[in-house]
Subunit: 163 residues, 2 copies
């Protein structure tokens, strides 16, 4: 696919918060979930652009409009003794699909991973999201089906901490 030069990718800054919130809300809507409320938006601003900074944001803009984003951070593999670039969210507005924007974001993430001496670029995908799985297959990503994501949250978490 030829590169669409009207699409540019850059790291987001705090002034991009309205665009970031729009895109996070669009992803939540796509997943039939609630988007961030005012309190959550305040936390996202603090966690993305305050200290400590928990995540980084890449924005893809077409003709100056933010149409896709990636949120990532660095985790760590003690087995490799190298950091991992972990992709938390990747989303392209539905009306801007099939333009290669998702691929451009993944390529930029791979570059950041190599620059930061990461051994891996990891993420999770929902098992029903076939179009995403097909996209990742084309990048030659591997699925680690023997690893089960496990979680403590809500009452079991607070009970373990304080019980």
């Amino acid at each position: 696919m030829p590169i669409d030069h009207s699409v540019t990718i850059r790291s987001a800054v705090e002034a991009d918060m309205p665009s970031i919130v729009n895109l996070i809300s669009a992803l939540a809507d796509y997943e039939n979930l609630e988007g961030p409320n005012a309190e959550a938006i305040a936390r996202l601003r603090k966690h993305g652009f305050g200290e400590p900074t928990y995540f980084q944001v890449l924005l893809a803009e077409k003709d100056g409009k933010a149409v896709a984003y990636a949120i990532y951070f660095f985790t760590y593999s003690t087995f490799l003794a190298q950091p991992t670039l972990y992709l938390e969210d990747l989303f392209v507005l539905p009306e801007y699909r099939s333009l290669g924007i998702g691929f451009r974001l993944m390529k930029e993430l791979a570059k950041v991973a190599i620059e930061r001496e990461c051994g891996r670029l990891d993420w999770t995908v929902l098992d029903w999201n076939q179009s995403a799985i097909d996209f990742y297959d084309r990048l030659k990503a591997v699925q680690l089906k023997d690893w089960i994501v496990t979680r403590l949250t809500g009452e079991p978490l607070t009970k373990l901490a304080h019980g």
Copy 2:
């Protein structure tokens, strides 16, 4: 189970590197993998105690000997707009099992998660590791079986970055 007061849990410092390396090597051995070589050990020291710091270490000591460890870091949930405490490694030397040391480490991690205003404590477990799965079940952890861990590494990663 009564608390064994001869077991203490604390955050590791750089001087603990020999103990940390011993425990990481013991975990690798348990998984039939290679432990860290000299170069990997140098990277672990830099990544654990340098700048940026990629991971934190909890050590459990019994009678002054490091017998178990947890390695963790903070990831982020844009859905919750809260950080997540992510547990990368949890390992108790085989001869110190069934003393409640793993539980004590999980409890300490849960406390850190709450202190840091995390909404979740996440990790992955291998689907064949039934004793670990049983342990996490007792903590009321949930398995997110519809999420597939996906990875770019090696040539597909460098090719995506530079191809």
